[in-house]
């Protein structure tokens, strides 16, 4: 299979960046998208050119590193998968494929397809935790949690913080990410003492980091490799307004 890749190349944070065309030949359809980029990079290195920088780590859909827009969709055309889980059999011979980094003010490009997602870390640091005394692990089931809440919390906790929600959102909003974190702790008894404080400070950090706001297009949910539901956003809106208007 032969493809034409149109890849965003940007040498550093200050560079303006542009789309560069690459012809990639004889691609094995069993390769993952990242392996195809590896092959292209080896060719570039052999020719003495700068390889395309991209983030990757686990290559099994868990770490959330492989952030890239493939034909305008975060992680590519398949639902509920990351870019590393996308295989070349999804493409046809002769396809032209655009590969771009997440574009958001809060996620500045470091190089090519690599962006700085530490804004997410700062949101977590501002409240995405529970303050408990550590010590010996307590007995399992010492704190009763009903099954539905446990399931909902677990669904929200599946978020891998990849940033696809921000990338897909027409407003570069981080609402789905923040909502997933707020819900995951807010649905469990351990999260209750700090529930109001948590949503207030995480939303405030989200706004300060320069993410946009939610216009309910629900592109985030469709793009999320872990299929986090926008129900969490409604829950966060409710928690935020309750904690603002309440005591």
């Amino acid at each position: 299979m032969n493809l034409t890749l149109k890849v965003w190349r940007q040498s550093g944070p200050q560079d303006k960046g542009k789309i560069v065309d690459y012809a990639v030949k004889d691609i094995n359809s069993h390769m993952s998208f990242l392996e195809m980029l590896d092959v292209l990079n080896e060719e570039l290195i052999a020719k003495g050119e700068e390889p395309i920088a991209f983030d990757h780590d686990c290559r099994e859909g868990i770490c959330g590193s492989c952030s890239m827009m493939i034909d305008g969709i975060p992680h590519g055309p398949d639902r509920g998968t990351t870019a590393c889980q996308l295989h070349m059999r999804r493409f046809k011979d002769g396809d032209v494929v655009y590969v771009e980094p997440w574009q958001a003010k809060a996620f500045p490009v470091i190089k090519d397809l690599v962006v700085d997602r530490s804004a997410f870390d700062r949101i977590i640091q501002s409240g995405g935790f529970v303050s408990i005394n550590t010590g010996n692990a307590q007995d399992a089931n010492a704190l009763p949690v009903n099954k539905d809440s446990a399931e909902a919390a677990f669904d929200a906790a599946a978020c891998i913080g990849c940033g696809a929600c921000v990338a897909a959102c027409p407003n570069a909003s981080a609402m789905l990410f923040v909502a997933a974190k707020v819900s995951h702790l807010g649905k469990l008894p351990q999260g209750q003492p700090e529930r109001a404080k948590r949503v207030q400070s995480m939303v405030s950090t989200m706004d300060t980091e320069g993410f946009g706001s939610c216009t309910n297009t629900f592109e985030c949910e469709a793009a999320c490799p872990k299929e986090i539901s926008v129900t969490n956003i409604a829950q966060m809106n409710r928690d935020y307004m309750q904690s603002s208007l309440g005591d």
């Binding site: 305008g72 969709i73 405030s204 946009g212 935020y240 307004m241 208007l245």
Partner: protein, 231 residues
Amino acid sequence: MSWVRKTVASTIGAKFIVALTGIVLVGFVIGHMLGNLQIFLGQDALNNYAQMLHNTPALLWSARLVLILSFFAHIGFTIKLTRQNRLARPQTYAYQQSIQAPTSSRTMIFSGLLVLSFVIYHLLHFTLGVTHPEHKSLVDSMGRPDVYSMVVLGFQNIWVSLSYIVAIILLGLHLSHGVSSLWQTLGLNHVKYNTFIKASGPVLALTLVAGNLSMPVAVLLGFLSLPLGVV
């Protein structure tokens, strides 16, 4: 009071205000349409209704005050949010693609601003009588302002009617996303109710478009015509 400032300054708080003021404006649009549909009951019914509204100035102006405040808050906060949203993505994608978002959800600011410019024209036309002063001064046989003839005369002009038709369709587009969306902003999203929430926007939008379009269309097709004696 600092909590008020903080909440209003936050994106979620601002959206909350947009949703609440949206409800007020949608409520007005529904009432406005139901009132106007009385045109099909004839000149007497519509003129009587118009006079009744104007006979209770305290009520009229309280309603207008709430409307004006909601109107400015709705527009002010959305413009602020839209500017923030534009700033949040300084570099756009070379390949623009949306996965499932309907056009109405992506064009709210445009449909909204176009409806706004129409509202200004609409007020100049019917409420203030600037564009057609000769229609505004009409009086019926009972001495009431002749709203019926004013509307019919206005809509007999194809360009006036067309501008109303386009504006109503844009309003429908705006509300088909806006109404379904405001529930989510107010924190209402539940599998039990989501079917209704999803349908609320398109159903209300279609109802409003059909009801409001019926009037200019009826005039253009000759179903509604001027009473005798009005030239």
